[in-house]
């Protein structure tokens, strides 16, 4: 074969991309699909068991509404600071993202505290019956998800406060904000399933 012909030069192409222009954005999307699918299937298992059961919950009171609702309201409200971090990342605003990730870390910690109250007031145990098992499964899955994001955000906060921020790191802050949006959105159907489905079904 003949030797290659150089027809163009790539040295003017940007040295990083934002969002879906970056590989990280696609990696993040992949993990969201996997986790989202796990939630869909776990939720499907809940609905399947619910429709096969003679009554729902099988033998206990529905989970206490108060803590779950507080948790949900904080989740929704957290979108406001989250959108601001996202915007600060877009604007390459270093003080803005440094402040923002600390706020998001604190929100994550607050949510974990509320989550502890939620778990204490589910009114069922995982080993009580199939209802208890599937309710705990949904809650544990989501708690692991939340905890992973909290650790991730906290580590990012430490890094951003101890290092200068090169341009591509702003893209990681944006990815982190997108992931938080996913955590919030995936919670809403779970909230309906865990807290409202037993009330509507009974």
């Amino acid at each position: 074969m003949k030797p290659p012909r150089v027809i163009d030069d790539l040295s003017n192409v940007k040295a990083y991309g934002f969002g879906f222009k970056s590989l990280w954005g696609w990696g993040l999307l992949g993990f969201m699909l996997v986790e989202g699918m796990a939630f869909v299937l776990a939720g499907g298992a809940y609905i399947y068991l619910m429709t096969q059961a003679p009554r729902w919950p099988l033998d206990s009171a529905p989970p206490a509404l108060l803590y779950g609702t507080i948790f949900t309201l904080i989740m929704i409200a957290s979108q406001w600071p989250n959108v601001r971090v996202d915007k600060a990342a877009h604007d390459r605003d270093a003080p803005g993202v440094r402040r923002g990730v600390v706020v998001m870390t604190l929100i994550g910690i607050a949510l974990m505290v509320v989550r502890a109250f939620e778990l204490a007031n589910l009114n069922t145990r995982w080993d009580q019956d199939a209802y208890g098992s599937i309710v705990w499964a949904l809650m544990v899955l989501h708690t692991v998800h939340l905890l992973a994001d909290l650790v991730d955000t906290a580590v990012l906060a430490v890094f951003l406060h101890t290092h200068p921020i090169p341009p591509e790191r702003f893209s990681h802050v944006e990815d982190n904000a997108s992931y938080w949006l996913f955590v919030v959105i995936s919670w809403l159907p779970l909230y309906l399933l865990v807290y409202w489905a037993p009330r509507w079904a009974s």
Binding site: M1, A130, G132
Partner: protein, 654 residues
């Protein structure tokens, strides 16, 4: 690696550029570098070799079963051991061989067929390999310690529950599922990112090689299917460990929950194995007919269609469970419908062969055997899709015959063809054609002689998963014939392995493109340099090397030489969008995989392991994701060293 490693790249780049790139993309020598490597080719080679070792082990369990079944009332192997043997066989073939080996071929060849310097997320690929290896080794250690799985590869509850499967056998099985699925999902995410964002400029989706299309469809299927089995096996483990009742009808669960979750994964799983094989077949057919694939858009639609339909037929594994009839009719229709896209592809390959000039080299022979065997297996599949017939032959050897026809015929034959086809690229040497053909005939004829009689055995009522049968059944003759034939397959595979091993060291030097193939992977030296491509190829057609024959391959210069850099392009039109760093060798994936292993194995024995042992994993992941020196800074330094003007540097890195 062999001495041919040192070959200069075939693209005619000057030696100095090659040496600088080799230095940039090299890894440290010795054990540290071996463990820390992020070279997708090196990781994929390990993956492929490991998968074939598991293939051999699963083959040995099959031979043991065939020896036992060779005559009636044989007592060579007792029932309990037999249960473990068929469970190990199915589990190994599905989880530790077929899916990993297909994904590993993707890992090796995706960047090469797409014209990229590396895979996306190579450290995730390294992590995937170590997790996969640990899961497989754990299963075999458990088997040797007499705690191997005993409830079959799909481990139905309640048989697999705490009541009927006491001890830890099923726990090891369930946790092996977690290992292998974590590994598979990790590779799938890297494959999708690579295909979507790292194709060479000009390689629009409409010019993408069919092998890449097949891996794309497979990877999405992995992402949507595998969480189902991870969820099911986690439910099973927690039922067995902490007394949950996910699968306990006595406490309000439904006995079919397991089967729904398992087959929501299990049916797509078959296509996860089969779809990459379709991509391999298309690559081989194109090269050995010297013709561009007939009906490329139809082929792509068929692959995507297969991916979608595969999620709509899981219930056909459950026809015997007494589900509502309307549901059964739907799944019958869906099961028959999936034959259509496969049929479309078979006709397109035949049309390609019809119009091309066929070379009957070993890879092409495997393709022909694939088409014949798959059509037979597909036809019994269409028969089984019909509920009345399915109910008659459910759990008999008819089903065993059917799925071996589609899995061996549909996936293993193309795989052996792909090994023969790509071997020169991976090793730099040719396999022996003569011995290749000998092993081909032994494997293919031995296969049909082994499995065809099982159709008859099944129709006459021989159930699967029985360790022996009475003489009066009259099944002895066909079983003996089947057992002898199984050893012919084994001899064929052994010759294949010897051929591979010998040729890897002593085979004829291949050169960059021994088959005169049109794919980009053949534009680089054999084996490829660590950096794959010095310049990004510019793709102008579906068959780039044939297109470039007269005027040479068009390439685009300007990618970094002294920093590991990959090009990111747009999803549809593959227009250059950005340049990004590719991670250097790192021990973190290995450390994280070991932490994962300790966590998974610990949680078989104690639920609190899940809490305490997740701490080392979290530390490993933080170490892994702790940001490296910024690519923008490395690149700015390289540009300054080359005297680029500051305003250009500013424009690129700010």
């Amino acid at each position: 690696m062999s001495a041919v490693d040192a070959d200069p790249p075939a693209m005619g780049d000057d030696l100095a550029l090659h040496e600088r790139l080799e230095r940039t993309w090299s890894r440290p020598r010795g054990l540290w570098g071996w463990i820390a490597t992020t070279d997708h080719k090196e990781i994929a080679r390990r993956y492929i070799v490991t998968a074939f070792i598991f293939f051999a082990l699963a083959g040995l369990t099959a031979l043991a079963m065939r020896v036992q079944l060779a005559r009636p009332m044989s007592n060579l192997i007792e029932a309990d051991t037999y249960n473990q043997l068929f469970s190990m066989h199915g589990t190994t073939m599905m989880f530790l061989f077929a899916v990993p080996v297909m994904e590993a071929f993707g890992l090796y060849f995706l960047p090469l067929v797409l014209g990229a310097r590396a895979i996306a997320f190579p450290r995730l690929a390294a992590y995937s390999y170590w997790v996969y290896l640990a899961g497989g080794v754990m299963l075999y250690i458990a088997f040797l310690l007499n705690v191997g799985p005993e409830t079959g590869w799909f481990s139905y509850t309640p048989l697999a529950g705490p009541e009927y499967s006491p001890g830890k056998r099923t726990d090891f099985w369930a946790q092996m599922v977690t290992f292998s699925e974590v590994a598979a999902i990790s590779l799938a995410i890297g494959s999708i990112a690579t295909i979507m964002k790292m194709r060479a400029p000009g390689m629009t989706l409409a010019r993408m090689p069919l092998f890449a299309w097949s891996i794309l469809v497979t990877s999405f299927m992995v992402i949507f299917a595998m969480p189902a089995v991870m969820l099911a096996s986690s439910f099973l483990l927690s039922d067995r460990l902490i007394g949950t009742h996910f699968h306990n009808p006595a406490e309000g669960s439904d006995p079919l929950l397991w089967q729904h979750l398992f087959w929501f994964f299990g049916h797509p799983e078959v296509y996860i194995i089969f779809v990459p094989a379709l991509g391999m077949v298309s690559e081989i057919v194109r090269t050995f007919t010297r013709r561009t694939i007939f009906g490329y858009p139809l082929m792509v639609l068929a692959l995507v269609g297969t991916g979608f339909l595969a999620f709509g037929l899981w219930v056909h594994h459950m026809f015997a469970t007494g589900l509502p009839e309307l549901g059964n009719s739907f799944y019958t229709a869906a099961s028959m419908a999936i034959a259509l896209p496969t049929g479309v592809q078979i006709f397109c390959w035949i049309a390609t062969m019809w119009d091309g000039r066929i070379r009957f080299a070993t890879p092409m022979l495997y393709v022909i055997a694939f088409i014949v065997t798959l059509v037979l297996g597909g036809l019994t599949g269409v028969m089984l899709a019909s509920v009345p017939l399915d109910l008659q032959v459910h759990d008999t050897y008819f089903v065993v015959a059917h799925f071996h026809y589609v899995l061996i015929g549909g996936a293993v034959f193309p795989l052996l063809g792909a090994v023969s086809y790509w071997f020169p690229k991976i090793t730099g040497r040719m396999m022996s054609e003569a011995w290749g053909k000998v092993s081909f005939w032994l494997v293919v004829l031995g296969f049909h002689a082994t499995f065809f009689p099982m159709h008859i055995l099944g129709v006459t009522g021989m159930p699967r998963r029985v360790y022996t049968y009475p003489e009066e059944t009259g099944w002895g003759g066909l079983n003996l014939f089947s057992s002898i034939s199984a050893f012919i397959v084994a001899i064929g595979v052994l010759i294949f392995v010897i051929n591979v091993t010998y040729s890897w060291r002593r085979g004829r030097i291949a050169g960059p493109n021994p088959w005169d193939s049109p794919g980009l992977e053949w534009a680089v030296s054999s084996p490829p340099p660590r950096y794959n491509f010095a310049h990004a190829p510019y793709v102008e057609s579906r068959d780039p090397l044939w297109h470039a024959k007269d005027e040479g391959l068009a390439v685009m210069g300007g990618l970094a030489v002294d920093a590991r850099e990959v090009l990111v392009t747009s999803v549809g039109s593959a227009h250059p969008e950005a340049r990004e760093a590719s991670p250097p060798p790192s021990l973190w994936p290995f450390i994280a995989a070991m932490a994962t292993t300790v966590l998974f194995i610990g949680s078989i024995f104690n639920e609190w392991s899940l809490v305490w042992l997740s701490i080392p994993l979290a530390i490993a992941l933080i170490g892994w994701f702790w940001p490296r020196p910024a690519h923008t800074e490395l690149l700015a330094a390289e540009m300054r060293a080359h005297g680029e003007p500051e305003d250009k540097i500013e424009a690129v890195v700010k």
